[in-house]
């Protein structure tokens, strides 16, 4: 096959573009890992923060040199370490169960609200609206308090909270981290459904005598998926952020956050720290792209909805 010069130039350009992007990405990671060396903290009382470009440059070079030690084998070796694997499995079990709960509870909340009579629907929506924008910590404290009250007043322990000793609780972190995201998931779903409800085809469906539940579940739900995927990402990363917080707050030793913190304190080599962070976020990134792909194949290509 003969490649003409224009195609060849295009390939070169594209390759160069991706090389530059990869380089910038690696430089970005190195920059953040050397960030504190950009500043001069050796100051006396009354003085202000200074800069130390020499120190930063040296550290940047040092980190970039350490990147050279990367081999896929070293990553696999690190990931297959039993301690790392335990932490990964524990954290991602919590994450997986929480995600299933969020999707189930959020969907039930939104569907119940949508199918309710107008007045009740308004009240339910107002109730859900109240949770938007509130900090996660409030709910973590509140659920923790509820657990303590039940234990103190009624001597009734629903679930263990702290990960001291060999205890590795699952139920408590799952409830705590999925409470607010489940409500927000329901609210996002509800808002997307309400926007779509104004479309003519929905009104036409009602006019033709189709049942409300049929129109909502069969027609409306499929059509809001592309828009909803964008919101789903927010929920995913909110969940990840909550997990970091809860795993640290309640001393879960065999948890991935603890592993990341350990690597940070050791500070001997940057690669184990990067590996642990990658292991922490990779399943979520994969899930995000998988959901996007499924929606693209099943909804967008079929119905020609807006591209993601």
């Amino acid at each position: 096959m003969k490649i003409n010069s224009r195609t060849f130039l295009k390939i070169i350009k594209k390759t160069a573009y991706y090389l530059v992007m990869t380089g910038t990405f690696i430089l970005g990671i190195a920059f953040f890992l050397s960030f504190i060396y950009l500043f001069d903290f050796n100051k006396k009382k009354g003085e202000h923060l200074g800069f130390s470009f020499d120190g930063f440059y040296k550290q940047l070079k040092y980190v970039l040199n350490q990147f050279m030690d990367f081999t896929p084998k070293s990553f696999i070796e690190y990931a297959s370490n039993p301690t790392v694997l335990d932490g990964f499995l524990h954290s991602h079990t919590i994450l997986g169960i929480s995600l299933a709960i969020i999707i189930t509870v959020g969907s039930i909340l939104s569907i119940i609200t949508m199918l309710s009579p107008v007045n009740l629907r308004r009240k339910l929506h107002q109730f859900l609206d109240f949770f938007e924008g509130l900090p996660d910590l409030v709910f973590i404290f509140a659920i923790n308090m509820l657990n303590i009250i039940l234990l103190k007043e009624y001597n009734f322990k629903i679930f263990p909270m702290y990960g001291l000793g060999s205890t590795q609780p699952i139920a408590f972190p799952v409830i705590v981290i999925s409470f607010l995201p489940a409500i927000l998931f329901g609210l996002f779903l509800l808002k997307s459904m309400e926007d779509e409800e104004q479309e003519h085809y929905i009104q036409f469906g009602f006019a033709k005598g189709l049942r409300k539940s049929y129109v909502y579940l069969i027609h409306l739900t499929g059509n809001i998926l592309p828009v909803f995927i964008i919101k789903f990402r927010i929920i995913l990363y909110m969940l990840l952020s909550n997990l970091v917080l809860v795993e640290h707050m309640y001393y879960y030793e065999t948890a991935h956050t603890n592993l990341i913190m350990m690597q940070m304190f050791r500070g001997e080599h940057v690669l184990p720290l990067i590996y642990s962070i990658v292991m922490f976020v990779l399943p979520v990134i994969l899930l995000e792209y998988l959901v996007k792909f499924i929606v693209k194949v099943t909804v967008i290509r079929k119905r020609g909805a807006l591209p993601l």
């Binding site: 910038t24 202000h48 923790n144 970091v244």
Partner: protein, 339 residues
């Protein structure tokens, strides 16, 4: 945008301003020590009946902490640091992020993808984790770094955490405006890039930046609270023994720090943890009210289904009711004649 639409914003801002002023005034008129209560309470026989933390009472509406310090005084004193940190960081993010975003999108749009690649970790790694990784080596207990230097560094890190969001929002927004026909016409008529930014992009961008600022306030507060759980208090922790057991305390008494340091009191003295958290919750609700009203006004419609406003369905019904008036109908004969 009409001014009468900002009633809730004005009220909320007024309340927040009262909080801030009272916190600033505390330095001049407030008691020097937060501890006016003795360490232990004794009965007539000199027997110890209670130890701090003391529960809420008439003299101490929010109770005292583990050192016998008045929670209300601590909160009033710490409020100004929370406000200052959150406002400075959000302002820096919005001003620098939007300015750079406009410059990059207008003069060097090819660099945008490089910025994207550079800040890619911020897109996937939780911001709280990045904040912890960047702050932890500096904000630990036993080091000689002056408090002001620590605070400056923390503000820079907090700025960095939210900067990509503002930057990419601005580039996307400017890109969208640039594709409008009136901006294209302006280009074709010889308008300079600076002229287009000043006259055609900024007027649209300004209201969005106001909303962005309020959102950044909420996000900064959230991150501050999360960092406090990792003992990364604003200005750092100290472990000075005040009453009995030394524990990590916030140097500035900033609200998120107070909440973080008192997390362990939930079991025995919940009022200690909930007093500062309650104050933070009030601030969150007030800022949320401001944000919702701004969004509703800027979008040119009333807030839908909000706690404070009419709901969408009611409004729709009203519109339909208003539309169906006898005057709107033509008699059939008249209609036929018209045809």
């Amino acid at each position: 945008m009409r001014t009468q639409n900002y009633k809730k914003t004005k009220i909320s801002l007024g309340i927040l301003l009262v909080f801030l002023i009272s916190s600033i005034l505390y330095d001049f008129v407030g008691p020097e020590d937060y501890r006016t209560m003795i360490n232990q309470l004794y009965d007539e026989n000199g027997k110890v009946i209670e130890n701090p933390p003391y529960p809420p009472s008439k003299e101490y509406p929010l109770g005292t902490d583990r050192d016998g310090r008045d929670n209300l005084l601590l909160i009033i004193d710490g409020l100004k640091y929370t406000f200052a940190a959150v406002l400075v960081v959000s302002f820096m993010r919005v001003v620098i992020g939007s300015l750079l975003g406009m410059i990059v999108e207008t003069w060097m749009p090819a660099c945008k993808s490089m910025f994207k690649a550079f800040f890619l970790p911020f897109h996937y790694v939780p911001l709280l984790l990045i904040g912890v990784l960047l702050m932890d080596p500096v904000i630990f207990l036993y080091n000689e770094i002056p408090i002001i230097v620590k605070i400056e560094f923390q503000l820079i890190v907090l700025f960095l955490l939210g900067f990509p969001t503002v930057f990419f929002f601005t580039t996307d927004f400017v890109n969208e405006i640039k594709s409008k026909s009136y901006v294209m016409s302006s280009y074709l008529l010889g308008g300079s890039k600076l002229h287009i930014i000043m006259k055609q992009i900024l007027p649209h961008l300004k209201p969005q930046l106001v909303i962005m600022f309020v959102q950044q306030v909420l996000q900064t507060l959230q991150i501050l609270m999360g960092l406090a759980m990792f003992t990364l208090f604003l200005g750092g922790p100290h472990k000075e023994k005040i009453y009995n057991t030394p524990y990590n305390k916030s140097i500035t008494n900033e609200l998120a720090g107070l909440t973080g340091q008192n997390f362990w009191t939930l079991k025995n003295a919940p009022w200690v943890a909930f007093s500062s958290l309650g104050m933070l919750l009030i601030i969150f609700i007030l800022v949320n009210v401001i944000k919702n009203e701004l969004v509703a006004n800027i979008e040119g419609k009333m807030e839908q289904y909000s706690v404070f406003s009419k709901n969408k369905l009611e409004m729709n019904t009203e519109t339909v009711k208003r539309d169906i008036s006898p005057g709107k109908f033509n008699p059939i004969e008249q209609k036929v004649l018209d045809q």
